[in-house]
Symmetry: C2
Subunit: 764 residues, 2 copies
């Protein structure tokens, strides 16, 4: 995965079996299915879930992670051919689509402390005895941040904590400027590309990013090879493109990077950093940080290195030099297809990338081998006579790590077809042990909950759903417990960024989901380093591949259920409920922001700041902040209400449809015209949430309900236009964005009402 | 100070001057004074506050901290004679009272790792270049914990975090037992004597205590001599007596350690540890901690050493040997007196200890030099014709560090006189820069607030009170801000333990207070080490002694105001309000405890624990907990109401007294019989809050409103019998304790009503 996301987790519940963990009732109540169709579907699903094999996943991982296989490497090309051959051996109709993308690789990297003493960073990850692939140094890319610009700078060093905007507010309160400085930021709390972006916005001329052992090293647990966590020389590689503007090839925003595509000049590519950046290990960072003086860093800024963290600037001066080969490289997406029988023009799409930073056993091969097992199992079902109603497309993406290149270029290339045909996109990436963690479009929430209720957790024998709900109950605050215990479905988180779903959901408005297991694993410890390999995975992560099998079972079941449903199993009440929650959140945010500013100004006016400042530290009093106006949330609330009413209407129609064993649904062969009309409306429903203008300042992002944060990068911002303008105190914009979201919700309500009427028609 | 207390801080407020910081109005409205008397008092106080001198404090500190001066050392004896001569030179009637106390000193100390590798702890603090007294090694006591028993043990090591009871609950959940093990605990979160006590209760056979750099070292800031914080070899000495049972000489509980006193056999002294204990530096601790394996410590247990913290047990095996000279040593309290003119049998007592662990510039000399300047200034006033109405007694205590020996033995020796005569006890100990921090009996709250309003903060020019209130407002949670801004007085914290007020308030029921400056200082960094010396203090703490002067001004003013008031300035509405707050707290605690247990049992019953346990970690499910009954808080609430009614009656009488310029108060010479009767009743009022039986299991502690926690040691427990029985889930005892507190509050209400009637009589 391109970035260690804040994990999407289930957030709600229903009645849980007590000590005796009962299997879920295998009813015939599948939403979107007639009773007869549901019975048939369940029989095929049961057969499906018996097929995925842990041993096969293990051997596939051994093969795919045997050598470094980053973009453009020989072994990546080799892997693409091997995956292609696997898909074909399963009986799928597979091919490779190739794109040519900008992919710079380092030719010069230097970090040295030039004063007050001299130290040169090693910038290398040594081989570990007993771990054979860690020694494949001739094939490894060294530690670097792709899409850093070239640079050669020498300047005083400033420690900026995580390097997010709030950290610069703190620096300002300490009277510290980064203008003309090199900053050193620790990984975490944002997409890594945010760190050089914000540093450059504040005038810095270079950026180092390191893994502090507090977040990612010995403070988390024993380090590799004694344990799974990051060793002292481990480096987190990774992209620093300004992905919140657009992902994919920096030279071809909005269009596929095909041979004839119009390409930007390098200088015009907005997603390349403005300053040079390089990631370093904590062994390399410690002498640099220890040489900084100036104010002692605030308590929350201090990591776990055995030093006193200071902010600077200087006296430590650092020389940073990075130069890249600015080459174009081919990427190879492997696309496999099972044609639909009744509705071949309705596509269920499933993907996981296969490119890695180095050997990438966990990221991404742990997810890729689960995907391959799903494909193998579905191929086996087809050979037994199963014919999915819709077309199923399995995708092994290349080029995810540098910036979601493979998926984005493919989506941009096929945008018109996908807009017409795509029913849903289901993504996975690296996976571990533990709990099923889900993010996705809220209209998929009941579908995914239904699947999670039917798959067994390998460790406890309970259902995945029961275990996820138990986690939610145990971690809930007291005021959240009632919902955790009683809500029929667990809420699923919204999609930010960090893996290949982004172009599907954010650019084209295709209902999407991302699934993984986590919460007991430790994958972050070797994330994007040479130590993320077969040895590490089989010693510390899902060592038995039991969760790999569970992932195949889960995602494959969801794919089948989407592919075979007579009426697409979208749920608009779940959507309306989620949007109502988002609306409450932004309303609370606006109030909290106003209250905080009022209190701040009052304390400033009352002299509280002057009386609580230690004169031995700084210094100047802060300036007062303009008090925010009240915002008009009525258009948003009206939009939510309209959507909720339409959703109730649709639910009523759906109830009428499934109350009797509807023969209207059970015609064989191509689906009825009425059903086709209904499903086409349903397919359009998530598209309706797009704006052709996109978000302000980043038009590639067209979904008005979810986007990665402009200054967080992974972390989702729901109602991003509204939320970010409140966060950034752009009050007039906030009012305008509320109107825009309200309008799109009204449009969605109309679509849903039309679907309700079409559903009534189809059921006649 | 014997222990680094959680600082007592003001907790409330009133209207604050804005940018222009106005001086407080010098009215003639001193509580307990007629208008004429108030005018005279203020004139004397103004003269008093001009006298204390920073330079004199600096020179006194240089003298008193020039050499190590622990109990029994030659320089401690020398200091006692010097302080005596100072008091006499100020014109005070001074003498020394000597007690003979058990004071073991180390003759053998060994800590070594014996497997899996060998390491021997250095157990020494090196001299620091430029800091002359750090080199006085022949006179220093080495790092040790006084009142550890002798021991020679070798056993597996277990890391127990702070070593408080909750940490052992965590160990149990990890399936780790300390039976037969040596534990290593970090300093903090309790009186250090709690750590070996709880360890022994759980079966451990030895205890090491170390200073983790997260709490006390480089993670806090630059270490000495580059900064004020604890260097790698710094060791926190200190007492480990089981002080929550009783403080003072372990061999003479409840009676003065005078020549003829009956002494316990050493084996019968309950406050000596059950297992050997030794404190070590973080340099010495690191190899030991690094050698521990077993489960990785929970996140909150991990400190700032560059290692992965494990719990154990073992494989690290440690050999710990400590042997002591079990000697009796003399301690020398220096007692000075200014006789009262009108009411010589009413005593205002003021104290600060002068013994140290080594040179002790900060602890305790920073407070002692402030006390000496008060005494000098009061002596000067006397020579100008000031005659305090009451007797003032200044006390320089010896033997505080090992266990409040000097103050406790003196109080026990003079218990009968003190019970009859003592009006109040005002204590200080080490002091720094920053904010006035106050703890004390609530009936002194308005008096102390009044004084704090009249003294200027050296750094801001605002009053101490304004600055303390600003701190409170800035740190308040939103729901606390209204009270922080509008309450007429700042609340003062209750007294736990950690300095010499304990025997006054907890054993004899004498209204007491403890005052210091803090919040900008850094005294903990060299606390109880050889580096707490003149060099350190004059480089990093109150370097100009401006706060030392402010402390003299503050405490001296309070002493004068208590000594000269016609009616003792006690406030029972403040007392009732504080007790009502305590009552609400214990009621909320009982509810929270019941809710937490109910939720825990429910989750256990629902299988939540089983479903959220990682099978690669342990293990056994916890046992259900007996659901607490509802407690009957009515006796407590009725007691509070009764007290509040009596307090209102007293306030009304007081208002009537001061509404006209009461000539009744202004008789010269010995106070009127009516006033004497009233003041005797007032003196008895705090005594009324005692129980002759004392607290359950620790009868030395007789106050029913405050005590140090049995398992926290410093931290105060208000309504200790009620609160601790709820915390420890002794529900029947809790109900009985509520009745006991309710009864004492009813008795207090009767005393206060009598005082009201006597006040009306005196005013006639």
């Amino acid at each position: 995965m391109i970035g260690a996301t804040s994990r999407g987790v289930f957030t709600l519940s229903c009645l849980l079996a007590t000590t005796a963990i009962a299997p879920p009732p295998a009813g015939d109540d599948l939403p979107g299915y007639s009773r007869a169709a549901a019975r048939a579907e369940r029989e095929w699903e049961t057969q499906f879930r018996a097929i995925p094999s842990p041993d096969t996943q293990r051997e596939s991982m051994r093969r795919l992670s045997a050598r470094p296989h980053h973009v453009g490497s020989p072994y990546e090309h080799d892997n693409s051919e091997w995956i292609l051959s696997r898909f074909r051996s399963f009986g799928l109709d597979a091919h490779i689509e190739t794109f040519d993308v900008l992919y710079p690789t380092p030719k010069d990297r230097l970090v040295e402390l030039v004063s007050p003493s001299h130290f040169r960073a090693a910038l290398r990850e040594p081989a570990v005895a007993g771990d054979p692939t860690s020694a494949q140094q001739s094939e490894q890319l060294p530690g670097f941040n792709v899409y850093s610009r070239d640079g050669d700078v020498t300047a005083p060093l400033v420690y900026v904590n995580y390097g997010i905007p709030a950290d610069y507010d703190t620096l300002a309160r300490h009277g510290v400027s980064v203008t003309g400085a090199i900053v050193i930021a620790r990984y975490g709390h944002s997409w890594r590309g945010i760190k050089p972006k914000v540093a450059a916005e504040h005038g810095a001329i270079g950026c180092l990013i390191y893994s502090d052992p507090q977040d990612d090293g010995y403070a988390q647990g024993d380090v590799f090879p004694n344990g799974p966590f990051r060793p002292r020389d481990g480096v987190q590689r990774g992209s620093v493109m300004d992905m919140p503007i657009y992902p994919g090839d920096p030279l071809t925003p909005g269009v596929g990077a095909t041979p004839g595509a119009k390409r930007l000049a390098l200088a015009d590519a907005k997603t390349i950093t403005k300053i040079p950046v390089l990631p370093i290990s904590y062994a390399d960072a410690q002498p640099l940080l220890a040489a900084i003086r100036g104010p002692v860093a605030p308590a929350t800024w201090r990591g776990s290195l055995p030093i006193t963290y200071h902010i600077g600037p200087g006296p430590a001066r650092v020389h940073l030099r990075v130069k890249f080969n600015w080459d174009t490289k081919p990427i190879h997406d492997v696309i496999a297809r099972i044609p639909g029988s009744d509705a071949p023009d309705e596509w269920v799409i499933r993907g996981n990338h296969y490119d890695a930073w180095v050997n990438g056993a966990s990221d991404p091969i742990s997810g890729q081998v689960a995907l391959l097992e799903e494909a193998r199992a579905l191929g086996a079902l087809v050979s037994k006579g199963w014919h999915p109603r819709r077309t199923i497309i399995y995708c092994a993406w290349d080029g995810e790590e540098p910036g979601l290149l493979g998926s984005t270029e493919w989506v941009e290339t096929h945008a018109d077809e996908l807009t017409r045909h795509a029913v849903a996109y289901l993504n996975t990436d690296q996976t571990e042990r533990g709990y099923l963690e889900l993010e996705g479009s809220p209209m998929l929430e009941p579908l995914l909950n239904g699947v999670a209720r039917e798959i067994r957790d390998p460790e406890t024998g309970a259902s995945l759903w029961q275990r996820a709900r138990a986690r939610l109950v145990r971690s809930a605050k007291p005021e959240e417990r009632e919902e955790a215990r009683t809500r029929a479905d667990l809420r699923i988180g919204a999609l930010g960024s960090g893996s290949d779903y982004s172009s599907f959901v954010h650019h084209l408005g295709i209902a999407s989901a991302n699934l993984q297991f986590g919460g007991e694993g430790t994958a972050d410890g070797v994330y994007h380093s040479v130590y993320d390999d077969f040895y590490w995975f089989t010693h510390f992560s899902d060592t038995s591949f039991a969760y790999g099998r569970a992932l195949s079972q889960t995602v494959g079941t969801a794919v089948m259920r989407l592919a075979d449903a007579q009426v697409l199993p979208y749920d608009f009440t779940a959507l309306a409920d989620a949007v109502r929650k988002y609306a409450h959140e932004v309303e609370a945010l606006a109030k909290e922001k106003a209250d905080t500013i009022a209190e701040f100004n009052r304390e400033l006016r009352d002299g509280v700041f002057g009386l609580t400042t230690d004169p031995r530290e700084s210094s100047a009093l802060p300036d007062p902040i303009v008090q925010p106006p009240h915002l008009n949330f009525a258009p948003l609330d009206n939009g939510v209400d309209a959507l909720a009413r339409s959703a109730a209407e649709y639910d009523k129609a759906r109830g009428a449809l499934t109350a009797h064993d509807s023969s209207a649904l059970d015609a064989t062969g191509h689906q009825s015209a009425a059903l086709a009309t209904l499903n086409a409306t349903l397919i359009a429903s998530e598209r309706t949430l797009l704006s052709n203008d996109g978000l302000v300042g980043r038009p590639w992002y067209r979904h008005l309900l979810y986007a990665p944060g402009a200054y967080t990068g992974y972390g989702v911002k729901t109602l991003p236009g509204v939320r970010e303008s409140i966060e950034q105190q752009h009050w007039e914009l906030a009012d305008a964005e509320i109107v825009r979201v309200g309008a799109v919700l009204q449009s969605e309500a109309i679509v849903v009402s039309r679907a309700a009427s079409e559903l009534r028609e189809a059921a006649k």
